[in-house]
């Protein structure tokens, strides 16, 4: 494929396009070619009345998503599945090795460590995040003047994400002059070395993740405000106390929000990368205590250039995430409550 690109770029160069823009030009030419191949037959089919006009319009309208899906999701996934049976360092031609990458991953102690780190992080951070953001949302769900100030304060940290957050928490967890150990010292406790201590590095990242629960809190708050007040009034008349009202009304009513939060939180936690990368300077931390799975994948792909092995790791990650998600979906039947009168909007919405 790179020959085609080079050829197009040469043509564009001769037409006076600057070298910086040539790759973009070549890409757009390819995209235009794909669109012609797609629109031509479609137009013909509409003319011949094989395809209804509105069906054709529908496909044209969703074509950005379709091409993106093929180009950046399905295509790459199929490609990486094939690649995972090869050895390739980007320079020599790929060589077929069968299941070697997978058997190697199964016995690679660092893969085991990366899986352990990632699953531990998910198992600790997701429930804590759900509990904390829900708890705070419950506290904030009152009509008091100035409550908006509190909501803003809790939400603000979730804007300090990525590298900036890690930079800040490198200081918070600094063993010598950091905030956390400074506070602990006031109580006469000598805090651990956090990021430098194999046993405390991961808990430190979990604490760091809790600082940004404000984003989830906003979603819970919206969910809580949707709970019909008649339910609470009826329960109050029946003499239900606050605890009872929480367990029998609030929790079932917002269980779909919790479910959504658990799923997105889990998928996010399994993909953690920046924290491990920046804290450990791409290393993995003391005795690999911050070797998140995606970080190990990144090291294999872009530091050791083992593209086949990295692809196999990517598929292992995908299967792990899908299994966990399926497990939670299965389990959700027992604790997620949906109104039975919920309209099947998708079916009614389609205009006839």
């Amino acid at each position: 494929m790179s020959e085609i690109i080079t050829a197009i770029e040469q043509v564009l160069g001769r037409l006076g396009m600057s070298p910086d823009v040539q790759p973009l030009g070549a890409f757009l030419v390819l995209l235009a070619a794909i669109y012609v191949l797609f629109l031509g037959p479609l137009w013909f089919a509409v003319r011949r009345q094989w395809v209804h006009r509105s069906t054709a319009a529908f496909w044209v309208f969703i074509s950005p998503w379709v091409f993106g899906f093929l180009l950046f999701t399905v295509g790459p996934m199929a490609y990486s599945l094939v690649l995972s049976f090869f050895d390739w360092n980007l320079i020599d031609p790929p060589s077929f090795t069968g299941l070697d990458n997978y058997t190697e991953a199964a016995s690679d102690p660092l893969v085991a460590k990366a899986v352990q780190v990632t699953l531990t992080y998910a198992a600790l951070s997701v429930p804590l995040q759900v509990a904390l953001s829900l708890g705070v949302a419950l506290l904030m769900n009152v009509r008091v003047r100035g409550i908006h100030v509190f909501r803003t304060i809790w939400y603000l940290p979730s804007l300090v994400t990525g590298v900036a957050q890690v930079v800040l928490f490198l200081w918070v967890f600094n063993p010598g002059y950091g905030l956390l150990n400074g506070v602990l010292r006031v109580f006469g406790i000598e805090g651990p070395a956090w990021f430098a201590d194999p046993g405390w590095a991961l808990p430190a990242v979990v604490i760091m993740s809790l600082w940004t629960v404000g984003g989830n809190m906003v979603i819970y708050l919206a969910g809580l405000q949707d709970v019909p007040t008649e339910l609470y009034e009826a329960a109050h008349l029946d003499g239900a106390g606050a605890v009872r009202r929480f367990w029998s009304i609030t929790l079932p009513q917002i269980s779909p929000v919790i479910f959504f939060n658990v799923i997105t939180g889990l998928i996010g936690a399994m993909q953690t990368f920046t924290q491990g990368y920046v804290v450990t300077q791409a290393g993995g931390g003391p005795s690999h205590s911050l070797l998140f799975f995606v970080l190990y994948l990144y090291q294999n792909a872009f530091e050791y250039f083992r593209m086949g092995y990295a692809s196999a790791l990517a598929w292992i990650l995908l299967v792990m995430i899908l299994l966990l998600t399926a497990l939670i979906f299965r389990g959700s039947a027992f604790w997620v409550y949906y109104e039975s009168t919920r309209p099947k909007e998708a079916r009614f919405a389609r205009a006839k």
Partner: protein, 274 residues
């Protein structure tokens, strides 16, 4: 009524303490960014005193080619925001309003892709962009947004479904095509979702770290998060300079949040995870 009053006071106390704990690192970050080197060493974990040493900001910015990095960051943020809003709205409109066989199934696939971790495709995408001769350019950070995002498509579709069907019918009677209906009726009406999607895309593009660290190797194209990460390892001792730079990197997100506050909360919460 007394116990409920008591409970309210109790929860207010918890809120005040909690807010203080949450805001503290943030406030300390601001305070430290305004301290002299000696001030940082003396103040330690406390918020006061502050020397108002605004020079940190000019020093921090001039210690690396800040404006160039800012330009790169903007180039990888603004076009994706515009592209993803437009294409997601277009696709969402088709799913909500254009009748077609099989639309439900395809929408199911769109939803399913939201669960797919993007990290699975980083290796093949890297190879794809290498084939496209786009190594060490900003294109790999911009082009994927041309094709919309599943989550935003979902947001737009849900919003358009809530608008009255008569809007479309009337326009069809007037002889407008689907594109006209989208562009002049539905797109302008979906302003809350446009704002929410734009803000979310801004935040994720602006703070993106994984993709730039894969594709960008030369100084010329570094984005701000990438530069900040490099700055961290190089200047780990100069805390005040580091904090000043971090604040500058975070500032656009905070400004945008305050500008769009109402829309973010409204836009996300209506998604009706319920």
């Amino acid at each position: 009524m007394a116990p409920s009053r008591l409970r309210q006071t109790g929860s207010l106390v918890v809120l005040v303490i909690g807010s203080f704990v949450f805001a503290y690192p943030f406030l300390w970050m601001i305070a430290t960014s305004l301290r002299t080197r000696q001030g940082v060493a003396e103040a330690g974990v406390s918020l006061w005193p502050v020397q108002w040493h605004f020079q940190n900001y000019t020093d921090g910015l001039s210690s690396f080619p800040f404006w160039q990095y800012l330009g790169n960051s903007l180039l990888t943020t603004i076009p994706p925001v515009i592209f993803t809003v437009l294409s997601s709205s277009l696709v969402g409109f088709a799913f909500a309003r254009i009748p077609a066989r099989g639309a439900g199934v395809i929408f199911g696939i769109v939803l399913a892709t939201m669960l797919l971790p993007g990290e699975v495709t980083i290796v093949p995408q890297f190879i794809l962009f290498r084939e496209l001769d786009m190594m060490d350019t900003l294109y790999p950070l911009i082009l994927p947004s041309l094709f919309g995002s599943a989550f935003f498509i979902f947001l737009f579709r849900q919003f358009y479904l809530r608008l009255p069907q008569s809007l479309t019918d009337a326009a069809i009677v007037d002889g407008a095509g689907w594109f006209r209906i989208w562009w002049s009726i539905y797109l302008p009406l979906s302003q809350p979702i446009i704002v929410a999607a734009a803000v979310l895309q801004f935040m994720s593009s602006w703070n993106n770290f994984l993709t730039p660290s894969i594709y960008l190797s030369s100084e010329r194209w570094k984005t701000l998060p990438l530069a900040l990460a490099g700055f961290t390892s190089a200047n780990s001792t100069d805390t005040s300079l580091l904090m000043a730079t971090s604040i500058v990197v975070v500032l656009p997100c905070i400004v945008i949040f305050f500008l769009a506050q109402r829309h973010i909360v409204g836009g996300i919460s209506f998604t009706g995870s319920k």
